[in-house]
Symmetry: C2
Subunit: 187 residues, 2 copies
Amino acid sequence: MTTKSADTRAAILDRAVDIASTGGLEGLTIGRLAGELQMSKSGLFAHFGSKQELQLATVHEAARRFFDAVVAPAQAAPAGAGRLRDYCLRYVDYLGADVFEGGCFWSAVGAEVDDRPGPVRDAVRELLRAWLDELARHAGLAGVPDPEELAFEVYALVSGANAGLRLLGDDHAPERARAAIERRLPA
Amino acid sequence: MTTKSADTRAAILDRAVDIASTGGLEGLTIGRLAGELQMSKSGLFAHFGSKQELQLATVHEAARRFFDAVVAPAQAAPAGAGRLRDYCLRYVDYLGADVFEGGCFWSAVGAEVDDRPGPVRDAVRELLRAWLDELARHAGLAGVPDPEELAFEVYALVSGANAGLRLLGDDHAPERARAAIERRLPA
DNA sequence: CCTACCGATCGGTAGG
DNA sequence: CCTACCGATCGGTAGG
Protein backbone atom coordinates (compact mmCIF):
# COMPACT_ATOMS: atom_id res chain seq x y z
CA MET A 1 0.00 0.00 0.00
CA THR A 2 1.80 3.08 -1.24
CA THR A 3 -1.64 4.67 -1.47
CA LYS A 4 -1.40 6.92 1.57
CA SER A 5 1.87 8.42 0.40
CA ALA A 6 0.48 8.90 -3.11
CA ASP A 7 -2.62 10.61 -1.71
CA THR A 8 -0.47 12.99 0.31
CA ARG A 9 1.63 13.76 -2.73
CA ALA A 10 -1.51 14.45 -4.78
CA ALA A 11 -2.85 16.78 -2.09
CA ILE A 12 0.46 18.64 -1.97
CA LEU A 13 0.56 19.13 -5.73
CA ASP A 14 -3.06 20.19 -5.86
CA ARG A 15 -2.31 23.03 -3.48
CA ALA A 16 1.07 23.74 -5.08
CA VAL A 17 -0.52 24.39 -8.48
CA ASP A 18 -2.87 27.01 -7.05
CA ILE A 19 -0.14 28.70 -5.03
CA ALA A 20 2.11 28.87 -8.10
CA SER A 21 -0.73 30.22 -10.27
CA THR A 22 -0.98 33.11 -7.80
CA GLY A 23 2.51 33.82 -6.53
CA GLY A 24 4.60 32.09 -9.17
CA LEU A 25 7.02 29.22 -8.72
CA GLU A 26 9.18 31.37 -6.41
CA GLY A 27 6.18 32.22 -4.25
CA LEU A 28 5.72 28.48 -3.93
CA THR A 29 7.95 28.01 -0.88
CA ILE A 30 8.20 24.73 0.97
CA GLY A 31 7.49 26.45 4.28
CA ARG A 32 4.30 28.07 3.05
CA LEU A 33 3.07 24.90 1.39
CA ALA A 34 3.75 22.86 4.53
CA GLY A 35 2.03 25.44 6.69
CA GLU A 36 -1.13 25.46 4.59
CA LEU A 37 -1.26 21.67 4.52
CA GLN A 38 -0.50 21.47 8.24
CA MET A 39 2.50 19.24 7.90
CA SER A 40 6.19 19.65 8.62
CA LYS A 41 8.52 21.15 6.03
CA SER A 42 10.78 18.11 6.03
CA GLY A 43 7.85 15.71 5.77
CA LEU A 44 6.67 17.50 2.68
CA PHE A 45 10.17 17.93 1.33
CA ALA A 46 10.76 14.16 1.50
CA HIS A 47 8.20 13.67 -1.28
CA PHE A 48 10.31 15.60 -3.78
CA GLY A 49 13.93 15.79 -2.64
CA SER A 50 14.56 19.27 -3.98
CA LYS A 51 12.79 22.53 -4.71
CA GLN A 52 13.34 21.98 -8.42
CA GLU A 53 11.63 18.58 -8.38
CA LEU A 54 8.67 20.15 -6.58
CA GLN A 55 8.50 22.86 -9.25
CA LEU A 56 8.66 20.30 -12.07
CA ALA A 57 5.95 18.16 -10.49
CA THR A 58 3.82 21.28 -10.04
CA VAL A 59 4.22 22.27 -13.69
CA HIS A 60 3.19 18.80 -14.84
CA GLU A 61 0.20 18.75 -12.51
CA ALA A 62 -0.85 22.13 -13.96
CA ALA A 63 -0.56 20.65 -17.46
CA ARG A 64 -2.85 17.82 -16.42
CA ARG A 65 -5.44 20.28 -15.15
CA PHE A 66 -5.22 22.34 -18.35
CA PHE A 67 -5.57 19.19 -20.41
CA ASP A 68 -8.69 18.10 -18.51
CA ALA A 69 -10.33 21.53 -18.81
CA VAL A 70 -9.49 22.48 -22.40
CA VAL A 71 -7.91 19.75 -24.50
CA ALA A 72 -9.80 16.60 -23.52
CA PRO A 73 -13.39 17.94 -23.87
CA ALA A 74 -12.62 19.23 -27.36
CA GLN A 75 -11.74 15.75 -28.65
CA ALA A 76 -15.43 15.21 -29.44
CA ALA A 77 -15.22 17.83 -32.21
CA PRO A 78 -14.03 16.69 -35.67
CA ALA A 79 -10.36 17.26 -36.54
CA GLY A 80 -9.70 20.46 -38.48
CA ALA A 81 -11.88 23.57 -38.39
CA GLY A 82 -14.32 22.12 -35.82
CA ARG A 83 -11.64 21.08 -33.34
CA LEU A 84 -9.74 24.34 -33.82
CA ARG A 85 -12.87 26.33 -33.09
CA ASP A 86 -13.65 24.22 -30.03
CA TYR A 87 -10.11 24.60 -28.72
CA CYS A 88 -10.27 28.37 -29.07
CA LEU A 89 -13.62 28.75 -27.36
CA ARG A 90 -12.60 26.53 -24.45
CA TYR A 91 -9.23 28.25 -24.28
CA VAL A 92 -10.92 31.62 -23.69
CA ASP A 93 -13.60 30.17 -21.40
CA TYR A 94 -10.99 28.49 -19.21
CA LEU A 95 -9.79 31.92 -18.03
CA GLY A 96 -13.07 32.55 -16.21
CA ALA A 97 -13.64 28.95 -15.15
CA ASP A 98 -11.36 29.04 -12.08
CA VAL A 99 -9.29 26.13 -13.36
CA PHE A 100 -6.44 27.76 -11.44
CA GLU A 101 -6.81 30.00 -8.41
CA GLY A 102 -4.63 32.74 -9.91
CA GLY A 103 -5.94 32.70 -13.49
CA CYS A 104 -3.91 31.23 -16.33
CA PHE A 105 -1.08 29.18 -14.82
CA TRP A 106 1.07 29.59 -17.95
CA SER A 107 0.82 33.36 -17.96
CA ALA A 108 1.72 33.47 -14.28
CA VAL A 109 4.71 31.20 -14.68
CA GLY A 110 5.88 31.91 -18.24
CA ALA A 111 7.29 35.38 -17.64
CA GLU A 112 8.89 34.19 -14.42
CA VAL A 113 10.91 31.32 -15.87
CA ASP A 114 11.80 32.76 -19.28
CA ASP A 115 15.06 34.23 -17.97
CA ARG A 116 16.05 31.23 -15.84
CA PRO A 117 17.66 28.45 -17.88
CA GLY A 118 17.07 24.96 -16.55
CA PRO A 119 14.70 22.00 -16.52
CA VAL A 120 11.74 24.02 -15.22
CA ARG A 121 11.92 26.55 -18.01
CA ASP A 122 12.39 23.74 -20.53
CA ALA A 123 9.29 21.94 -19.25
CA VAL A 124 7.12 25.07 -19.48
CA ARG A 125 8.51 25.88 -22.90
CA GLU A 126 7.85 22.39 -24.27
CA LEU A 127 4.31 22.24 -22.93
CA LEU A 128 3.46 25.61 -24.47
CA ARG A 129 5.19 24.61 -27.71
CA ALA A 130 3.11 21.39 -27.86
CA TRP A 131 -0.12 23.33 -27.32
CA LEU A 132 0.68 25.84 -30.08
CA ASP A 133 1.64 22.96 -32.38
CA GLU A 134 -1.70 21.28 -31.70
CA LEU A 135 -3.56 24.51 -32.51
CA ALA A 136 -1.52 24.97 -35.69
CA ARG A 137 -2.03 21.35 -36.73
CA HIS A 138 -5.81 21.70 -36.77
CA ALA A 139 -5.56 25.12 -38.43
CA GLY A 140 -3.53 23.40 -41.15
CA LEU A 141 -6.15 20.66 -41.52
CA ALA A 142 -8.75 23.42 -41.82
CA GLY A 143 -6.86 24.89 -44.75
CA VAL A 144 -5.65 28.04 -43.02
CA PRO A 145 -2.83 29.56 -45.15
CA ASP A 146 -0.39 30.21 -42.25
CA PRO A 147 -1.33 27.88 -39.37
CA GLU A 148 1.56 28.96 -37.10
CA GLU A 149 0.58 32.60 -37.48
CA LEU A 150 -2.97 31.78 -36.44
CA ALA A 151 -1.78 29.74 -33.45
CA PHE A 152 0.44 32.63 -32.37
CA GLU A 153 -2.39 35.13 -32.60
CA VAL A 154 -4.84 32.97 -30.66
CA TYR A 155 -2.28 32.36 -27.93
CA ALA A 156 -1.45 36.08 -27.74
CA LEU A 157 -5.10 37.10 -27.54
CA VAL A 158 -5.92 34.61 -24.79
CA SER A 159 -2.85 35.65 -22.79
CA GLY A 160 -3.88 39.26 -23.31
CA ALA A 161 -7.37 38.48 -22.04
CA ASN A 162 -5.88 36.93 -18.91
CA ALA A 163 -3.76 40.04 -18.30
CA GLY A 164 -6.75 42.29 -18.95
CA LEU A 165 -8.81 40.27 -16.51
CA ARG A 166 -6.25 39.89 -13.72
CA LEU A 167 -4.11 43.01 -13.94
CA LEU A 168 -6.51 45.61 -15.30
CA GLY A 169 -9.65 44.06 -13.83
CA ASP A 170 -11.34 44.43 -17.21
CA ASP A 171 -14.23 41.96 -17.39
CA HIS A 172 -14.67 42.68 -21.10
CA ALA A 173 -11.22 41.27 -21.94
CA PRO A 174 -12.33 37.67 -22.69
CA GLU A 175 -15.14 39.00 -24.88
CA ARG A 176 -12.64 41.13 -26.77
CA ALA A 177 -10.35 38.15 -27.27
CA ARG A 178 -13.29 36.04 -28.43
CA ALA A 179 -14.31 38.68 -30.98
CA ALA A 180 -10.79 38.94 -32.37
CA ILE A 181 -10.41 35.16 -32.59
CA GLU A 182 -13.84 34.76 -34.19
CA ARG A 183 -12.82 37.23 -36.88
CA ARG A 184 -9.66 35.22 -37.48
CA LEU A 185 -11.10 31.69 -37.57
CA PRO A 186 -11.80 29.98 -40.92
CA ALA A 187 -15.46 30.02 -41.99
CA MET B 1 24.78 70.04 -3.73
CA THR B 2 22.37 67.15 -3.51
CA THR B 3 23.85 66.08 -6.85
CA LYS B 4 25.99 63.22 -5.62
CA SER B 5 23.09 61.60 -3.79
CA ALA B 6 20.84 62.07 -6.82
CA ASP B 7 23.44 60.48 -9.09
CA THR B 8 23.72 57.49 -6.80
CA ARG B 9 19.96 57.14 -6.74
CA ALA B 10 19.82 57.29 -10.52
CA ALA B 11 22.52 54.61 -10.81
CA ILE B 12 20.62 52.39 -8.38
CA LEU B 13 17.36 52.71 -10.27
CA ASP B 14 19.04 52.16 -13.61
CA ARG B 15 20.30 48.81 -12.41
CA ALA B 16 17.08 48.06 -10.52
CA VAL B 17 14.99 48.35 -13.69
CA ASP B 18 17.11 45.79 -15.53
CA ILE B 19 17.16 43.38 -12.61
CA ALA B 20 13.37 43.61 -12.27
CA SER B 21 12.89 43.11 -16.02
CA THR B 22 14.73 39.82 -15.63
CA GLY B 23 13.87 38.43 -12.22
CA GLY B 24 10.76 40.42 -11.41
CA LEU B 25 10.21 42.82 -8.52
CA GLU B 26 10.75 39.98 -6.03
CA GLY B 27 14.04 39.04 -7.66
CA LEU B 28 14.98 42.65 -7.07
CA THR B 29 16.44 42.16 -3.58
CA ILE B 30 18.27 44.91 -1.75
CA GLY B 31 21.20 42.60 -1.06
CA ARG B 32 21.67 41.69 -4.70
CA LEU B 33 21.31 45.27 -5.87
CA ALA B 34 23.82 46.50 -3.30
CA GLY B 35 26.23 43.74 -4.22
CA GLU B 36 26.15 44.56 -7.93
CA LEU B 37 26.63 48.27 -7.24
CA GLN B 38 29.38 47.54 -4.70
CA MET B 39 27.76 49.43 -1.88
CA SER B 40 26.35 48.42 1.49
CA LYS B 41 22.77 47.25 1.84
CA SER B 42 21.95 49.90 4.39
CA GLY B 43 23.57 52.64 2.32
CA LEU B 44 21.37 51.72 -0.61
CA PHE B 45 18.34 51.17 1.58
CA ALA B 46 18.63 54.72 2.96
CA HIS B 47 17.70 56.11 -0.47
CA PHE B 48 14.25 54.52 -0.34
CA GLY B 49 13.27 53.67 3.22
CA SER B 50 11.40 50.50 2.31
CA LYS B 51 11.33 47.72 -0.23
CA GLN B 52 7.99 48.98 -1.51
CA GLU B 53 9.35 52.48 -2.19
CA LEU B 54 12.22 50.93 -4.11
CA GLN B 55 9.76 48.90 -6.16
CA LEU B 56 7.62 51.97 -6.88
CA ALA B 57 10.63 54.04 -7.91
CA THR B 58 11.77 51.17 -10.16
CA VAL B 59 8.37 50.96 -11.85
CA HIS B 60 8.37 54.69 -12.55
CA GLU B 61 11.91 54.60 -13.89
CA ALA B 62 10.84 51.77 -16.22
CA ALA B 63 7.93 53.93 -17.39
CA ARG B 64 10.36 56.72 -18.19
CA ARG B 65 12.49 54.36 -20.27
CA PHE B 66 9.45 53.05 -22.13
CA PHE B 67 8.28 56.59 -22.76
CA ASP B 68 11.67 57.61 -24.19
CA ALA B 69 11.87 54.56 -26.45
CA VAL B 70 8.30 54.32 -27.74
CA VAL B 71 6.03 57.23 -26.89
CA ALA B 72 8.24 60.29 -27.29
CA PRO B 73 9.69 59.51 -30.76
CA ALA B 74 6.19 58.92 -32.15
CA GLN B 75 5.07 62.47 -31.31
CA ALA B 76 6.42 63.61 -34.67
CA ALA B 77 3.66 61.66 -36.44
CA PRO B 78 0.27 63.37 -36.93
CA ALA B 79 -2.47 62.56 -34.41
CA GLY B 80 -4.84 59.80 -35.50
CA ALA B 81 -3.98 57.02 -37.97
CA GLY B 82 -0.36 58.16 -38.42
CA ARG B 83 0.43 58.32 -34.71
CA LEU B 84 -1.38 55.03 -34.06
CA ARG B 85 0.66 53.32 -36.75
CA ASP B 86 3.90 54.81 -35.43
CA TYR B 87 3.07 53.72 -31.88
CA CYS B 88 2.40 50.16 -33.02
CA LEU B 89 5.58 49.82 -35.06
CA ARG B 90 7.75 51.23 -32.28
CA TYR B 91 5.90 49.10 -29.73
CA VAL B 92 6.89 45.92 -31.58
CA ASP B 93 10.39 47.17 -32.36
CA TYR B 94 11.05 47.99 -28.72
CA LEU B 95 10.98 44.27 -27.87
CA GLY B 96 14.16 43.67 -29.85
CA ALA B 97 15.81 46.99 -29.01
CA ASP B 98 17.17 45.95 -25.60
CA VAL B 99 15.34 48.80 -23.87
CA PHE B 100 15.24 46.44 -20.87
CA GLU B 101 17.71 43.67 -20.17
CA GLY B 102 14.96 41.09 -19.67
CA GLY B 103 12.66 42.05 -22.55
CA CYS B 104 9.36 43.85 -21.95
CA PHE B 105 9.39 45.16 -18.37
CA TRP B 106 5.59 45.19 -18.23
CA SER B 107 5.23 41.56 -19.25
CA ALA B 108 7.84 40.54 -16.68
CA VAL B 109 6.19 42.48 -13.88
CA GLY B 110 2.50 42.41 -14.82
CA ALA B 111 1.82 38.75 -14.10
CA GLU B 112 3.83 39.01 -10.89
CA VAL B 113 1.89 41.86 -9.31
CA ASP B 114 -1.61 41.10 -10.55
CA ASP B 115 -2.43 39.02 -7.48
CA ARG B 116 -0.81 41.32 -4.94
CA PRO B 117 -3.02 44.25 -4.00
CA GLY B 118 -1.17 47.43 -3.07
CA PRO B 119 0.47 50.57 -4.40
CA VAL B 120 2.89 48.69 -6.68
CA ARG B 121 0.14 46.82 -8.48
CA ASP B 122 -1.88 50.03 -8.73
CA ALA B 123 1.05 51.87 -10.30
CA VAL B 124 1.65 49.14 -12.92
CA ARG B 125 -2.06 48.95 -13.64
CA GLU B 126 -2.43 52.71 -14.12
CA LEU B 127 0.59 52.98 -16.38
CA LEU B 128 -0.69 50.16 -18.60
CA ARG B 129 -4.19 51.63 -18.54
CA ALA B 130 -2.83 55.02 -19.67
CA TRP B 131 -0.89 53.43 -22.53
CA LEU B 132 -3.94 51.49 -23.76
CA ASP B 133 -6.03 54.67 -23.49
CA GLU B 134 -3.49 56.54 -25.58
CA LEU B 135 -3.56 53.82 -28.25
CA ALA B 136 -7.38 53.83 -28.22
CA ARG B 137 -7.52 57.61 -28.39
CA HIS B 138 -5.62 57.75 -31.66
CA ALA B 139 -7.56 54.78 -33.01
CA GLY B 140 -10.70 56.80 -32.30
CA LEU B 141 -9.29 59.85 -34.09
CA ALA B 142 -8.48 57.53 -37.02
CA GLY B 143 -12.13 56.51 -37.22
CA VAL B 144 -11.71 52.96 -36.01
CA PRO B 145 -15.18 51.60 -35.02
CA ASP B 146 -14.12 50.04 -31.67
CA PRO B 147 -10.91 51.79 -30.54
CA GLU B 148 -10.67 49.90 -27.22
CA GLU B 149 -10.91 46.58 -29.01
CA LEU B 150 -8.06 47.56 -31.30
CA ALA B 151 -5.94 48.76 -28.35
CA PHE B 152 -6.56 45.46 -26.58
CA GLU B 153 -5.56 43.42 -29.63
CA VAL B 154 -2.37 45.39 -30.25
CA TYR B 155 -1.35 45.08 -26.60
CA ALA B 156 -2.09 41.33 -26.62
CA LEU B 157 -0.11 40.74 -29.81
CA VAL B 158 2.93 42.67 -28.58
CA SER B 159 2.85 40.84 -25.24
CA GLY B 160 2.53 37.58 -27.14
CA ALA B 161 5.53 38.48 -29.27
CA ASN B 162 7.56 39.11 -26.12
CA ALA B 163 6.57 35.73 -24.71
CA GLY B 164 7.33 34.06 -28.04
CA LEU B 165 10.72 35.73 -28.11
CA ARG B 166 11.74 35.18 -24.50
CA LEU B 167 10.06 31.94 -23.47
CA LEU B 168 9.85 30.00 -26.75
CA GLY B 169 12.96 31.57 -28.29
CA ASP B 170 10.97 32.16 -31.48
CA ASP B 171 12.64 34.94 -33.47
CA HIS B 172 9.68 35.12 -35.83
CA ALA B 173 7.32 36.23 -33.06
CA PRO B 174 7.73 40.02 -33.58
CA GLU B 175 7.22 39.56 -37.33
CA ARG B 176 4.04 37.58 -36.62
CA ALA B 177 2.77 40.31 -34.31
CA ARG B 178 3.63 42.96 -36.89
CA ALA B 179 1.68 41.09 -39.60
CA ALA B 180 -1.38 40.71 -37.39
CA ILE B 181 -1.29 44.37 -36.36
CA GLU B 182 -0.78 45.53 -39.94
CA ARG B 183 -3.88 43.61 -40.99
CA ARG B 184 -5.82 45.30 -38.19
CA LEU B 185 -4.70 48.91 -38.66
CA PRO B 186 -6.94 51.38 -40.56
CA ALA B 187 -5.87 52.03 -44.15
C1' DC C 1 27.04 56.43 3.08
C1' DC C 2 29.20 52.84 6.65
C1' DT C 3 29.58 48.68 10.32
C1' DA C 4 27.17 45.82 13.02
C1' DC C 5 23.35 44.00 14.16
C1' DC C 6 17.99 41.99 14.50
C1' DG C 7 14.19 38.26 13.83
C1' DA C 8 12.14 35.71 10.15
C1' DT C 9 12.36 32.70 6.47
C1' DC C 10 14.69 30.32 2.81
C1' DG C 11 16.20 25.37 0.90
C1' DG C 12 18.14 21.51 2.76
C1' DT C 13 20.12 17.72 6.17
C1' DA C 14 20.66 14.35 10.23
C1' DG C 15 18.62 10.94 12.45
C1' DG C 16 15.01 8.73 13.67
C1' DC D 1 6.20 11.44 8.25
C1' DC D 2 8.46 13.86 12.63
C1' DT D 3 11.87 17.05 15.67
C1' DA D 4 15.76 19.53 15.62
C1' DC D 5 18.95 21.51 13.36
C1' DC D 6 22.32 24.04 9.48
C1' DG D 7 24.24 28.26 6.74
C1' DA D 8 22.55 31.79 3.78
C1' DT D 9 19.70 35.46 2.77
C1' DC D 10 15.66 38.29 3.42
C1' DG D 11 13.88 43.31 4.80
C1' DG D 12 14.87 46.40 8.17
C1' DT D 13 17.15 49.10 12.36
C1' DA D 14 20.68 51.43 15.56
C1' DG D 15 24.04 54.49 15.67
C1' DG D 16 27.23 56.83 13.74
